[in-house]
Amino acid sequence: MVGWVLPGEPSAAHQRLTMRSILLLLALTASSTAADAAVAEERREPFDDLRLEVHGFVSFGYLQSWENDWLDETTDGSADFHEAALNLISRPFDRIRLGAQLFERDLGVYDNGRVDLDWAYAAWQVGDELELAAGRLRTPLGLYNDVRDVDAARAPVFLPRSVYALRFRDLYVSIDGAAAKGLIDLAGDMDLEYALYGGDKRIADDTGTTTYLGAAGYGEGVTVDVDWTIGGMAHLTTSVPGLGFRISVLRVDALRIAGDPTPGIELASDLDYWLFIGSVEYDLRAVTLAAEYSRLRGRGSRGIAALGVSESTQDDGEGMYVSATWRQKRWLEWYLAGEAEFDDATDRDRSHAWRLIAATAVRPMAHWSLKLEAHYADETLETIQVENPDGAEHHWWGVALKTTVDF
């Protein structure tokens, strides 16, 4: 994005250099922390007394694609792919936990290194069956939405995009509100984890989500607002070791998106959304199998008030995948997944994506991972059309490399 540079104000290139310097410093800090566990242990002594912890991660990646651009001008290759997080967690009193995390991401043309308050909460552990929390909280949608930025949680570079929409991270990742969650023992070896939450959703004007919506037709100055959000998750751990089922539901009331496709002309939409995700995970120790199905249902209107134009609109997105992860060794994992995605579940012939993803993760040390992911797609979705305005190919390939150090 081009902007005015005032005298004395750092240029975009200088800002990018500064950000990379910070990331490099964080990476060096993290790697030295991971490399010398004994020293790290001694350094944690005073924090132990205060029940205070500092953790974080830094990652760098590279994206390359063929036939279509994806997230950036990736047919030429793109190194604009890095993430960093720094958090502080404290347990000042029994049953009380406080925490906050800053998160930074550059994903091709999205986010561009912006730093965000990722989560910040105060939690009261009433008992195993109930924990109450308030603040900015991660939303437990599906198996992995609350850990969508956590490389340690998976072998591939990206979660299946058919269920975990890559360009709408800001919309789904958290809420500002309150939550109750807990673990309830059931008969036999079964138990039920649950979470209920509700609150507001705020999306800044310069996020990846607003950038995408701008390119998708809303133009300049995109704003996103909601009235309220509520949701719930229930995860049943069965008496079959490693087998669990989860259902997640999210309700977003009055998601309003507005922007100027041309100066002075505002395009605005206002939809109520339901999102449902059904999940199954079977952890066989060395092998983890997972499958999820998501269904979006949005109803509302869209129009240009200045022209007196308004029409009803609906959103019926659908996605599903199956995946297998094999931990061959302590330091080596393999991943294979197939997924399908449709812009309109009521008319699957309209647009679709079929993708096959293969990945490997090498973890030379407990705090360091190297990942390689390749995917093949047969795709006609709106997202790929938006990122290839001169015409998208139906069949295309992509590769992602990523290395992460955490502490």
Binding site: E53, N87, I89, R97, G99, Q101, Q125, V150, R285
Partner: protein, 136 residues
């Protein structure tokens, strides 16, 4: 037909007798711990003792601990278990266990840290800690 069955029962019994144990700091109020609750503690699904004090989990990042972790938590090894904890820590759902590089260091840490628990493959010969064999 009976002989193999008897051998199987003996094998299971011996395996159970040699199973992993939890080592806790003497200030921990719990006198007994079920295998299910120990699993939930190791997986980060339970974070407080029954008296409300926080559980300080001490993990030994040592391949020798993999067997005990596998038996008690269902995770493949210590590194696999730790990755589950990173999920909690980076999503704001928990605090990280204390990680040391040997069983001896884990026992020493438990001896010094109120509310702490470590998992070991067999009952240790160590002073200043208490051993709880999980009930099944």
């Amino acid at each position: 037909m009976r002989a193999p069955l008897i051998l199987l029962v003996i094998a299971v019994t011996v395996a159970s007798a040699a199973a992993e144990v939890a080592v806790v700091n003497p200030d921990v109020a719990e006198k007994a711990l079920s295998a299910e609750r120990l699993r939930d503690i190791l997986l980060g699904r339970v974070s407080t003792w029954t008296d409300g004090k926080p559980i300080v989990l001490v993990l030994s990042d040592d391949p020798q601990s993999d067997g005990a972790v596998r038996a008690a938590s269902g995770r493949d090894d210590v590194r696999h278990l730790l990755r589950g904890w990173k999920r909690l820590v980076y999503s704001g759902a928990g605090a990280m266990p204390t990680v040391v590089d040997s069983v001896a260091a884990a026992l020493e840490r438990v001896r010094r840290t109120p509310g702490s628990l470590a998992l070991v493959a067999e009952p240790p010969q160590a002073e200043g800690v208490r051993v709880i064999a999980p009930t099944r």
